[in-house]
Amino acid sequence: MSEFQKTISQAVRISQSTGPVGQSVVREDAVVKATGRAVYAADITRPDMLYGKVLLSTEAHALIKNIDTSAAKNIPGVHAVLTARDIPGENVYGIAVADQQVLAEKKVRFFGEPVALVAAETPEIAEAALKEIKVAYEPLEGVFNPIDALKEGAPKVHEAGNLLLHTRVRKGDYRIGFEQADVIVENLFRTHGQDHSPLEPESGVAWFDGDGILNIYSSSQYIFRDRKQVGRVLNIPINRIHSVNTTVGGGFGRKDDVTVEILVSLLAWATQKPVKLVYTRHESMLTQTHRHPTIVRIRSGATASGKLTALEAVVYGDTGAYASLGIYVIKKMALHIGGPYYYPHYKADSFSVYTNNPIAGAFRGFGILQAATVHEVQMDELARRLGMDPIEFRLQNCLREGLTFSTGQVMDQACGIAATLEELREYVKRHGLQFKKHPEHQEVER
């Protein structure tokens, strides 16, 4: 044991002896991670293991006229080149809606969609084989923002149309609320996409045992759902799939749905050898999910005394080519677009929309980072127009036990928003910070 390891072990023992809940015990994986001994999926090797690579679409929206894999298959060291037609089960998956093809069959819907798979004896051979796969695309007109996607005659990303879900929230009567308002702030917001960028890209190793059990070791947020989805595509009963989570280098929602598990399992099935598949950063960014870009129009009203009266909002969420968790992210956004405040009258609509953009899915915040960006600027602007302190204005309107959320749900004793704002009010005082006066903002005399 090195000096460094001894020091850590000692620190662990000291902190552990002080006891459990409420104590900052040193995390149980501190030593194994700090000493570099934690095993990530990319660290795993098996005898005879092959390396997988994925051919990604170079079109955002196009028909696939032909895929020629013959040259790739003839490269020495290549053990399998797979396309949609090789899939033994159903070519479909999806965390909330099964709308996503594992390998593109008749058309591609986004730039970066998996089209073919290769397993080869080295990563270099696999890479060379990818270059020899010839895909003949017939480009289609694409649609790249949710407003255009909902227009009549817009190119259809999916046959059933581009609207995934429309959510309506109706509480009270917003018209009455706005009549009572002395100040109304209305804005158009646009929030951009974001890449989760977990330190560890998506990765996994799969192989079949002699008795036909499929083993999948992967970096995942939910191995039990991965297993179900692999079973459907490979046509294997779920109880013959052994899924194991390796050490995970961050997820942030990116690894909530299946990432490489189905693809690496298909290659293991086709070659009957262990196969490792680790996305490069660039591949990961192209083919995996992201944060939803959104467009929001919103107006909020308050009385001259600083009481919120009404909110009206419409949210367009760009979920990209496939749903992933886009149904629930954008539904949740409609419920949360008013934030942690009490509105007697609340009207919000949200539209989760398919486009030919990169897929958006779960990402730490789940639509509420976008919602908060909107409702907090609204609150700040209202406070300034009313000539009120931004923290006091929030405290005056925040949810408390007995008040109702946008869905009419009554808040219980666990409602903690006021406590967090009071802490910040103290913090501002303690550190001598001050909000600037912008007299040009003030609209009403109090």
């Binding site: 459990p20 809940v21 409420g22 104590q23 900052s24 015990v25 995390r27 149980e28 994986d29 955002a60 730039f111 694409g142 790249f144 923002n145 309506r168 109706r170 917003y174 018209r175 158009l188 646009r190 951009h192 974001q194 890449d195 960028s197 947020q221 939910y222 191995i223 039990f224 759902r225 194991v244 989570n245 997820g251 660039h282 960014m285 629930y328 953009n357 730490r364 509420i368 980072l369 908060a372 960006t373 907090e376 600027v377 609150m379 700040d380 602007e381 931004p390 923290i391 869905t407 009419g408 749900q409 004793q413 666990a414 967090t420 704002l421 802490e423 910040l424 910070l433 001050q434 912008h438």
Partner: protein
């Protein structure tokens, strides 16, 4: 010119899935003859420290040391399905499942202890490595002796826990109803400096007041608060994901700019504890709440500094220069408020 400003952002976050989606967790626990404990949970450790928290919960329940608990996680041939690790639900839902598994096993241990101590089972307590009756605390059994007897007498040494956090769906037309079983709350303050010539925004400090109900491990909570603020800062100021006609243009780390240590300001974590009666020891979810308020706090600090709110993210220098009127905004396709009517009532 350098302008200075402060801004606040707040949020509410419905914890778990809501909308009648499955939202359960399963856990098992075993007391070995030597008093060591094994917890089986299908939940994934993502680096957030969930395994540590589950160890702490089990140790708390049995009154043993934290190092005497081992968690086996996320292996379909060893652990039960504990649901996904997402939606800030893990400490709340998976923690509750472990709590129930421990309490299930404690029933058996309590009944054995009552026999050995000739006491009423309802008076049996577990604390400090000992098991005793509150009516006569002097007369105690060391926990490892009790578990040794559990095995010697062939009694049940496994506990099972299942926790269901699902809620009914809200009304289809109005979304009225009880959407979530638990809510999380957070507010942040950002202090920034804005350079009016370059458009660069520098964050000078972030104070993050996050209501966690009960901090089971305060250091891990601080880790989430700090990591969350940095990820939020990245979204607000740096991570401009450029997509043109469906192509993610800057899809390399050379052009997709993530925050590094050099971008991280002092972060003051303020742990707020308003207990949730349904959470384990009052705990709530907090992983997402730690990142959500950072962006609005920064945008409001920018407005405090210059008098104008940026309504199109991110706050990269060129967008700030558009905001200040220094550069004409030619960046985005024209979209005005009139293009986006509100749907009918």
């Amino acid at each position: 010119m350098k302008l200075h400003g402060i801004g606040v952002g707040s949020m509410v976050y419905g914890v778990g899935y809501g909308f009648a989606r499955p939202d359960f967790a399963t856990a098992e626990v075993e007391a070995a003859a030597d008093g060591s404990l094994t917890v089986w949970s299908g939940a994934s450790e993502l680096g957030q420290g969930l395994r540590t928290v589950l160890c702490q919960i089990a140790a708390q329940e049995f009154g043993t040391d934290y190092q005497d608990v081992r968690v086996v996680s996320a292996d379909s041939e060893k652990t039960p399905d504990s649901g996904p690790v997402s939606a800030s639900r893990s400490t709340y839902v998976q923690g509750n499942a472990v709590l129930q598994a421990c309490r299930d096993l404690k029933e058996e241990l309590r009944s054995l202890a009552a026999e050995m101590l000739k006491a009423d089972p309802s008076t049996i307590e577990f604390s400090g490595g000992y098991v005793f009756s509150t009516t006569n605390p002097e007369n105690s059994i060391a926990f490892h002796i009790l578990t040794g007897q559990l095995h010697a007498r062939g009694r049940r040494s496994h506990g099972f826990g299942w926790y269901d956090n699902h809620t009914e769906d809200v009304d289809k037309e109005t979304s009225q109803g009880d959407a979530y079983s638990s809510f999380a709350w957070a507010s942040q303050l950002a202090e920034i400096e804005l350079d009016t010539e370059t458009g660069e925004v520098t964050v000078l400090r972030i104070a993050s007041a996050t209501d966690v109900g009960k901090a089971i491990n305060p250091k891990l909570v601080e880790g989430q608060i700090e990591g969350g603020a940095v990820q939020g800062l990245g979204f607000a100021l740096l991570e401009d994901m450029k997509v043109e006609r469906g192509v993610f243009k800057n899809s390399h780390f050379s052009t997709y700019i993530l925050p590094t240590a050099a971008d991280v300001p002092p972060i003051d974590p303020i742990i707020v504890e308003v207990p949730d009666p349904k959470g384990p020891y009052g705990a709530k979810g907090m992983a997402e709440p730690a990142t959500i308020p950072t962006t609005p706090a920064i945008l409001n600090a920018i407005a405090d500094a210059c008098g104008k709110w940026l309504k199109s993210t991110p706050a990269i220098p060129e967008n700030i220069l558009h905001l200040l009127g220094v550069l004409p905004d030619e960046r985005k396709e024209a979209l005005s408020i009139k293009d986006i009517p509100y749907p009918p009532f």
